[in-house]
């Protein structure tokens, strides 16, 4: 039992999933259930004059804003995102009503006969209307910029990214009693859904029950959006008192669910006489889409990541979320950090070149060290082992030799990114907003049940949490259980987001296990509850962005090598090498799997995945047009993990899920830049963009 917890075991749900036995929401049917489809706005902005419904056959029902018992908002941070459009529509695809009934053919028939009388208004697509703005400083940026020998300025842009989980979104639900609604869904955050539905139904929390189905990928896409459809479905169930299933098809899912925010970031560096960076000014613009949703939180993570893995003394950072009449953008693995890390990594690289310095040594000088101040004037308390990680990565990839060789060899390039990711919620989120609670229950056969709201969406939470309990209690894996959580059964341990599950939830589960161990009496039932307590040394001021934004940081290095065709401008990935510090891997294979998958998403974000809208209509609506990598597109990756245990994490674990995505884009962009010898300032770096750069002789 004393073996190293990192030693891998078969993922505990792998066999059921392979046999096709795992029940995803689409696989669940309930006798007598109805189906629901959604009526949506065909235009980007307008005033609803009237919706003309045809006469409905018996057993068919329309559900719209008039049926909402509570407020017409999806309860999140701001009260702005409507459950059903009421008097205006703000984006193409905005839900207006559900059509509910038994036969899908009839539903679509009704749908096609509905006439929406909507008076079009001029939609807004440019960054003009700021709905959130944040700013903060570190040190004393103004005088530094005034005294600078020169100021170098660049602008970086990033596009949409679609989560493209292979299982589209959906829920099935039923009335448990006349008052109580039960919803089973593909979700990341059971209690987000529950709280939103409680508010929509204006009912007692006991009247809403949310159960997780097997989740076929999420990546942030099932963080806030499911709350919207859960509210709609719950209202329909309350009204019809029938079980109802609402499953998105791919095109619907891609056209209306949240995506990664497109961004535009302007970076300025104050340079002194010795060519040192003395200060940085950054201004970030995120396209929030029609409703704010989580955009403010995404913006703060982006802003805080401004100096990434570097320390810069003086900073002036600001950013806005802009409202546009497009699909609302939201959570996606990395949560604002990928946009900012692309900007700062490229900027550091471009600064070095403009200052005629070797980019590698230039960037190394600014690498953050233990004891340095973070971008928000907090403290990097724990050991930082980046130099060792960088050395390992460069050796694995033969980075330095290749950089030399590719100076003269055309069409080949190699790029390296450094990055960090703050683990857990930003700022005081954990203590003020979440206040996580976990429960361990032991029965009289000494079997232990983990009762948390954490969702295994493929990232291995089930396996790692069970491993923690088994190791700590020193009982066999088979004696520990973690079933799909059900809000009637599990306390609110918080959402499955922000790379917090292993570190925060796992940490609490471990504390509970330790307490259970001390109270252990064989064959006697026992229950232990643990609540999150913020370590006292973490001080954070939400208003000024000052203090420790995160309790801990995970770190990483990505190297990507490419070949660019001078004929077709296509990028071929030749190799990917990564080194990560996630504290301690709770299961080595699981972390390496996160690394492979996250890096693939991050690299593809940088060069492959294209999504654009035209007048608010997304042009890529299916898996044929929205291109994600196939096995042939991805090169073999080599990943190395270093242990660097974090005192407060279970067995030293920090976050691993998001970290592996955030560095891919700048690494591949730098590699392409080397291959074509033109600076890259925009991702995805598509062949079309590469062609433009190669034919543009001004650069």
């Amino acid at each position: 039992m004393h073996k190293d917890i990192s030693q891998s075991i078969h993922k505990l749900d792998a066999h059921a999933r392979m046999q096709g036995k795992a029940q995803y929401v689409g696989d669940i049917d309930i006798k007598g259930m109805l189906h629901a489809i959604t009526l949506r706005s065909p235009i980007a902005k307008g005033i609803i004059k009237a919706i003309h419904y045809p006469p409905l056959p018996s057993g068919y029902t329309i559900i719209d804003y008039r049926d909402i018992p509570g407020k017409n908002f999806v309860k999140m941070i701001f009260e702005d995102w409507k459950i059903f459009a009421e008097d205006t529509v703000e984006h193409i695809g905005e839900p207006i009503a559900l059509i509910v009934g038994e036969d899908k053919r009839v539903l679509y028939d009704i749908h096609d006969k509905i006439i929406c009388d909507i008076q079009p208004l001029e939609p807004l697509f440019s960054y003009q209307k700021s709905v959130i703005d944040y700013q903060f400083t570190k040190g004393n940026p103004d005088p530094v910029f005034k005294q600078a020998k020169k100021i170098i300025k660049e602008t970086y842009e990033t596009g949409y990214q679609e989560q493209a989980y292979i299982e589209p979104q959906g829920f099935i639900g039923y009335p448990e009693t006349a008052e109580k609604v039960t919803l089973i869904g593909s979700v990341q955050c059971l209690y987000y859904v529950k709280n939103a539905v409680v508010s929509a139904l204006d009912t007692h929390p006991d009247n809403v029950r949310v159960i997780q189905a097997a989740v076929g990928g999420a990546f942030g896409g099932k963080e806030e959006y499911p709350s919207l459809i859960a509210c709609q479905l719950a209202i329909a169930i309350r009204k019809t008192q029938k079980p109802i299933k609402l499953i998105f098809e791919r095109e619907e899912d891609m056209s209306v669910t949240t995506k990664r925010h497109p961004s535009k970031t302007t970076m300025e560096a104050a340079i002194d006489a010795d060519n040192n960076i003395v200060g940085i000014r950054a201004k970030v613009a995120l396209d929030g889409g029609a409703y704010i949703g989580l955009s403010g939180v995404v913006l703060s993570r982006a802003l805080i990541a401004v100096t990434n893995a570097y320390t810069i003394k003086h900073l002036a950072v600001s950013g806005d979320v802009f409202k546009t009449n497009t699909v609302p953008n939201g959570a996606f693995r990395g949560f604002g950090a990928p946009q900012m890390i692309f900007a700062i990594e490229m900027f550091m690289h471009h600064l070095a070149k403009q200052l005629n310095q070797d980019p590698y040594s230039f960037r190394m000088q600014y690498l953050a060290k233990q004891g340095d101040q973070t971008s928000t004037s907090g403290l990097f308390r724990d050991p930082i082992i980046m130099p060792k990680m960088i050395q390992k990565a460069t050796e694995m990839a033969q980075f330095h030799d290749k950089v030399k060789a590719y100076k003269t060899m055309p069409n080949r390039g190699i790029g390296m990114s450094y990055f960090l990711h703050g683990c857990g919620f930003t700022g005081s989120g954990e203590s003020t907003h979440i206040n996580a609670q976990v429960k361990l229950r032991k029965d009289d056969h000494d079997h232990v049940y983990i009762l948390v709201a954490a969702v295994d969406m493929g990232q291995g939470a089930k396996t790692t949490l069970i491993k923690i309990v088994s190791h700590t209690l020193e009982i066999p894996i088979e004696q520990v259980h973690f079933d799909y959580p059900d809000t009637d059964d599990v306390p609110d341990s918080g959402p499955t987001v922000a790379s917090r599950t292993a570190m925060i939830v796992g940490g609490l589960v471990n504390q509970a296990a330790l307490e259970m161990k001390s109270l252990w009496q064989s064959k006697t039932p026992l229950e232990v509850i643990k609540r999150y307590k913020q370590p006292e040394w973490i001080v954070w001021d939400e208003k000024t962005f000052q203090g420790d934004a995160y309790p801990a940081y995970s770190w990483g290095v990505n190297i990507v090598e490419v070949e660019v065709s001078p004929i077709t401008y296509q990028v071929n990935i030749i190799g990917i090498w990564s080194v990560y510090d996630v504290g301690k891997a709770l299961d080595e294979t699981i972390v390496l799997g996160q690394a492979d998958g996250g890096t693939a998403q991050g690299v593809a974000y940088g060069y492959l995945e294209v999504m654009v809208h035209e007048q608010g209509q997304l042009k890529q609506k299916n898996m044929t047009d929205y291109i994600i990598p196939t096995a042939v597109d991805m090169a073999p990756t080599q990943t190395h993990l270093y242990d660097n245990p974090f005192a407060l994490g279970p067995y030293g674990a920090k976050g691993a899920g998001e970290l592996t995505l955030v560095g891919g884009a700048p690494a591949v962009a730098m590699a392409i830049e080397m291959a074509i010898k033109k600076p890259i300032k925009k991702i995805p770096a598509t062949p079309e963009y590469i062609m433009e750069l190669m034919h543009d002789d001004d650069h």
Partner: protein, 157 residues
């Protein structure tokens, strides 16, 4: 309405229905075989893959009529074979299963590949699974799993 006859997981089945229906819908609805998933409904992702006379194909773009007098195996049937045991153990060991929504299709793609080529190179494996999209794994562990199944299952394919 037409009567369609086909072998399904080793048993002969006769079903009277609209023959233009997608095989995927017939499997999931009429036979309650939910291991084949709908990821895209347009032939692109491979989540709905099945074996048609031992070769992978996508059940979301195959009309039921086209399998008349032919033989289908779904993951539920394949899961009872010795080859599945080898593949699934290799998948579990390599970490090739994350959310699992692509996995039944991926396993059938691996079976189809190994059936044609029992000792594939990594590059051949990548081509063999190129119609099966996986958003979670980045594919490396899947390639490794199929490679190791090919070695362990020597003689089975």
């Amino acid at each position: 309405m037409m009567t369609i006859k086909f072998m399904l997981n080793g048993t002969e089945q006769t079903i009277k229905t609209d023959p233009s229906r997608r095989l995927l819908d017939v499997l999931r609805k009429d036979f309650n075989l939910k291991g084949s998933k709908e990821g895209c409904g347009e032939g692109e992702c491979g989540a709905c893959a099945i074996l048609l006379d031992g070769h992978i194909t996508n059940s979301c773009c195959l009309p039921l009529a086209s399998v008349h007098k032919r033989s289908i195996m779904t993951i539920e049937g394949y899961a009872k074979t010795a080859r599945f045991d080898v593949l699934s153990n290799s998948f579990a060991e390599a970490g090739a299963v994350q959310c699992g929504i692509c996995t039944p299709g991926m396993i059938l793609a691996a079976e189809s590949l190994l059936n044609q080529n029992p000792a594939p190179t990594d590059a051949q494996i990548r081509i063999g699974i190129s119609g099966n999209l996986c958003r979670c794994t980045g594919y490396n562990m899947i390639v490794k799993a199929i490679q190791s199944a090919a070695k362990r299952g020597e003689g089975l394919w």
